[in-house]
């Protein structure tokens, strides 16, 4: 057992966990942030994707202890009060989700994709970059639309700031 101290969604938190505890379980079980999901056991599906120090990370592939001292953002932390993040709004507006289970990871991964490409994205790039996020419901067609839509909105928001 060890005490892991980190920042989650802007709040300093502390959790006593077994050494083998994965970051995703610290989030879900210790902090009750159940928006981050577990969909597989081989790091393929991406439902657990969060941001650690600004980068998309599969939280099932990190020990909680490895996140000590880091700043973690989960799906629960990206809206500003009632104002949705442009990526969240784009998923809703483009019907980029059906059952919703892959959606938090999809949104977190997609935000990171837009950031890394400086808003320069096309369909082929988005599809390639989403390789690490599996969806069984949507066939990806509307997810790709949502990401491209959000990229445009995020660029505009950046320009406006």
């Amino acid at each position: 057992m060890s005490t892991v101290k980190l920042t989650v969604n802007g709040r300093a938190v502390s959790a006593d966990v077994e050494d083998r505890t994965l970051l995703v379980h610290l989030l879900r079980d210790n902090l009750n942030l159940t928006g981050t999901h577990v969909g597989c056991d081989t790091s393929q599906c991406g439902a657990c994707t969060v941001h650690v120090d600004g980068r998309a990370v599969k939280s099932c592939t990190m020990l909680a202890a490895q996140a000590a001292g880091s700043s973690v953002t989960t799906i629960e932390g990206i809206a500003k009060g009632d104002e949705l993040h442009p990526m969240q709004a784009a998923f809703r507006d483009n019907h980029g989700l059906q059952c919703g289970f892959c959606t938090p990871g999809m949104i977190m991964a997609s935000i990171d994709i837009v950031h890394r490409h400086g808003g320069k994205l096309d369909e082929e790039t988005v599809r390639h970059e989403l390789e690490g996020n599996i969806c069984r419901c949507t066939g990806y067609h509307n997810i790709v639309k949502a990401v491209l839509d959000a990229a445009g909105r995020m660029k505009v928001a950046q320009a406006a700031e």
């Binding site: 577990v38 599906c45 809703r92 059952c99 919703g100 289970f101 599809r127 069984r136 419901c137």
Partner: protein, 782 residues
């Protein structure tokens, strides 16, 4: 159509919780005092359980109990059931072997549970499960159909000699034989339909909570049909009386059929929660999902089609072996029979059809309905045969199809189904136009000059869904009726709650059902709450599968609305001193036609609940229930055309274009419908190119993780070009046919027809992986 009514692509009401991470899936739920279950599972495909030693496990930290299959038998808990009685051609009933939730004596597939550990934490349960020592005596395993039916093969169940469950036929054998006798040409084709693992993204999960003081059970379960779960757990498994059992299916992360069934795990958790006196949660690992979720498909078939000299079909003969796995699952018997053979006419006028289906036990995970359930198998077979026929008869594949299309409706097929409405020429013409079919030859030649093999493939599918007319399925062996229920509560201030027996696990009912109410009663969808998934709230429902929720569940809502409207009109007429026949609904107001006298729905509702001035003899309140039993299946149909390129040195397939022209009757929300088609196409393409559950000769599932089983990912799929033609369904007041499974039903044949066209070799099985395609191109066995 209002802005939020029928035909409007309104954005979903349910999205808010999903996009903000506030969805409430079963594994998200935490109960006070909750414990955790970990199952001890057989590593052998076939073995006798000689003994279970839990002494070491019981001593480990946090362990509360280790329970075994024998204890379930001792407590007189029932076995899992198959709810559809099929009779063999010799009149004998299907040969069903017993399926206990945890095996007391014999395990028959890798992953079958023999014991369960209950502990304070999941890690403690997991650690202790590894310490349970099970003494197995291994038996020879039968890993596939061919091994199972070989003379002298090891027998799985004493009830099923030769591992044959049933040998069933449909159609007129004599008429088919006569057709073949006078045929000008016969096309013969052998094909397989590969086994798939459904893999909804949310693994199965259950939380069972027994309240001893009230002698009442609560079960949270990832189910597509909570009332069916309650019925089966009480009446058949005998775990809890129906009136003392509440089943809640909250947000469920996809089902595709795999969450219809009432599995050993939720049954054991429910039973164990009473023994242990604490709530128990179980959530599957993905590997457990691969091993224990019911698999789909797994057919081997031989098909023969007879043509006259004008290339019109005279008859079709099909023989299919279907792999049921180690046990008969809940719907399993219906899938390769009444959901398969009854669709073998496809879109074609076929005077005589005869099908024989032989179902087989093997030492593999049990098989049951998976998106399409029997119809993908039928559609794939017919469309591969038609393509093969076109090539053999040297005619254009679309011309051969058009020559044989049914054009008069209703059309009675020789295999029970009577198609009510359709226009097959319209969909095929639309698809051909969308993909520029006429220009393909030039594109193929250009690709060839660049070293690529380009192919085009057509798939004209029809399916039967909107499951199902109760009397009809009852007469065919179903143990249940397949109607649906809706209760509409107009609250005193005019907001509306719709309690539906349907369940949304991605199908968007919270939005589309609200649109139905908005259209009829003029209420904004924000004022309409759709309630589903809790047996304490909704009286009964048969759940969501078989593309039934709009056709059957939606019609139940329409019927309930008719009753609400009738009563509301009576009240309005009374209050406005007009005659009932003069009241119309306009923008949510009950208006006396030709005047400006009106009452808003909230005022009518308030009058109903204050009851100060109601018509003589009328009961207070404004709440109506309807149970709707469909009169026929519905018949979505369409044409898919796929254009792709194969890279000869690698065998890799790349999509150039994929067009779909579907006829779903009336569309309630086109955006939702397109989403369903996208998802279905992804699964159909997945089956054709990527997916396949593989067992080795010892019955070990080799493809038991996302590393080994290829799920379609974003870069495996193209964007799709969808269009719709419309023939309204005459069978229900909405004119809807359902759209949830069509993509999964029709897509596979389009892909394989295209690849075989590209490589000039028709002998290609699914999945057409680069490895397999390369071997076929190079004339080697893969």
């Amino acid at each position: 159509m209002g802005v939020e009514g029928i035909g409007a692509s309104v954005v979903r009401k349910e999205d808010k919780r999903f996009i903000t991470g506030k969805g409430r899936y079963v594994d998200d739920v935490k109960l006070t005092g909750m414990t955790f279950a970990q199952f001890v599972r057989s590593p052998h495909a076939h073995a006798k359980v000689k003994g279970i030693d839990s002494s070491a496990a019981m001593k480990m930290p946090g362990v509360i109990a280790v329970l075994t299959g024998q204890q379930i038998v001792d407590d007189k808990i029932g076995n899992l059931i198959c709810g559809w009685a099929i009779t063999s051609k010799d009149g004998s009933p299907m040969k069903m072997g017993a399926w206990p939730a945890m095996a007391p004596e014999t395990v028959r597939f890798v992953g079958q549970a023999v014991a369960v550990v209950i502990a304070e934490t999941k890690n403690q349960a997991r650690d202790a499960a590894e310490a349970v020592v099970v003494n197995y005596e291994e038996l020879p395993a039968v890993p596939d159909i061919r091994a199972a039916i070989k003379p002298g093969a090891p027998q799985l169940h004493p009830e099923a000699p030769g591992n044959i469950i049933f040998d069933w036929t449909l159609g007129d054998e004599a008429a088919v034989n006569a057709a073949f006798a006078k045929a000008a040409n016969v096309v013969t084709f052998e094909l397989a339909n590969n086994r798939l693992v459904p893999n909804a993204m949310e693994p199965r999960s259950a939380i069972a909570d027994y309240n001893d003081a009230e002698e009442h059970f609560t079960l949270y379960t990832t189910s597509q049909n909570p009332h069916v779960a309650r019925l089966v757990l009480s009446a058949f498994y005998n775990v809890a009386p129906e009136h003392k059992l509440r089943v809640i299916a909250p947000d469920v992360g996809g089902g595709f059929g795999s969450k219809i069934y009432i599995y050993p795990e939720e049954m054991v958790c429910l039973w164990a929660s009473r023994k242990v006196g604490r709530p128990i949660k179980w959530t599957a690992d993905r590997s457990e999902s691969f091993l224990t979720d019911m698999h789909g498909r797994d057919h081997i078939s031989k098909a023969e089609m007879a043509f006259d000299k004008d290339n019109k079909i005279l008859g079709l003969r099909v023989k299919t072996h279907s792999n049921f796995g180690a046990y008969m699952s809940l719907f399993s018997s219906a899938v390769p029979t009444y959901l398969y053979a009854t669709l073998l006419s496809g879109q074609y006028n076929i005077p005589a059809i005869f099908a024989e289906v032989i179902t087989v036990y093997t030492n593999t995970t049990p098989v049951d309905a998976y998106r399409g359930a029997g119809r993908p198998e039928a559609s794939y077979l017919i469309e591969r045969v038609m393509e093969t026929a076109a090539r053999q008869l040297k005619v254009d594949p679309t011309e051969l199809r058009k020559k044989n299309f049914i054009t008069q409706f209703p059309h009675q097929t020789p295999v029970i189904m009577a198609y009510d409405a359709g226009d097959f020429h319209a969909s095929l013409d639309a698809a051909k136009k969308a993909i520029d079919y006429e220009g393909f030859a030039a594109r193929k030649a250009k690709a060839k000059s660049e070293g690529k093999l380009r192919g085009i493939g057509v798939s004209c599918y029809i399916e039967a869904c909107g499951i199902a007319p109760s009397k009809a399925v009852g007469s065919l062996g179903a143990g249940v009726g397949l109607w649906e229920s809706a209760e509409i509560r107009v609250n005193p201030v005019g907001t509306i709650e719709v309690l539906t027996g349907s369940h949304s696990h991605g199908q968007s009912h919270e939005t589309t059902f609200a649109q139905l109410v908005s259209e009829r009663l003029g209420v904004p969808i924000s004022q309409v709450q759709i309630v589903h998934g809790d047996t304490d709230k909704v009286q009964f429902g048969m759940g969501t599968y078989g593309s039934r929720s709009l056709a059957v569940g939606g019609t139940a809502i329409v019927k309930a609305m008719e009753k609400v409207e009738a009563k509301a009109k009576k009240i309005a007429a009374h209050l406005l001193e007009a005659s009932e026949g003069d009241i119309v609904i306009e923008n949510g107001e009950f208006k006396v036609t030709g005047t400006d006298k009106s009452l808003a729905l909230p005022m009518v509702a308030l009058a109903a609940y204050t009851a100060h001035n109601l018509p003589e003899g009328m009961e207070p309140g404004l709440k109506e229930t309807a149970f709707y039993d469909p009169t026929n299946f519905t018949f979505p149909a369409g044409a898919y055309i796929c254009e792709l390129e194969v890279d000869p040195p690698t065998g890799k397939t790349t999509f150039v274009n994929f067009v779909a022209a579907d006829d779903f009757g009336r569309l309630i929300n086109p955006m939702i419908v397109e989403g369903q088609v996208h998802g279905g196409l992804a699964q159909g393409i997945g089956q054709a190119l990527l997916e396949g559950a593989v067992y080795d000769e010892n019955g070990q599932l080799v493809t038991a993780s996302f590393m080994d089983y290829t799920m379609p990912r974003a870069d495996d799929l193209p964007s799709f070009k969808l269009s719709h033609t419309t023939t309204l369904c005459p069978g229900n007041p909405l004119g809807v046919k359902g759209c949830g499974e069509a993509g999964a039903i029709g897509a596979s044949a389009a892909v394989i027809n295209a690849i075989t066209d590209a490589i000039g070799n028709n002998k290609l099985e699914m999945p057409a992986t680069p490895d397999r395609v390369w071997h076929v191109i190079n004339g080697k066995a893969a």
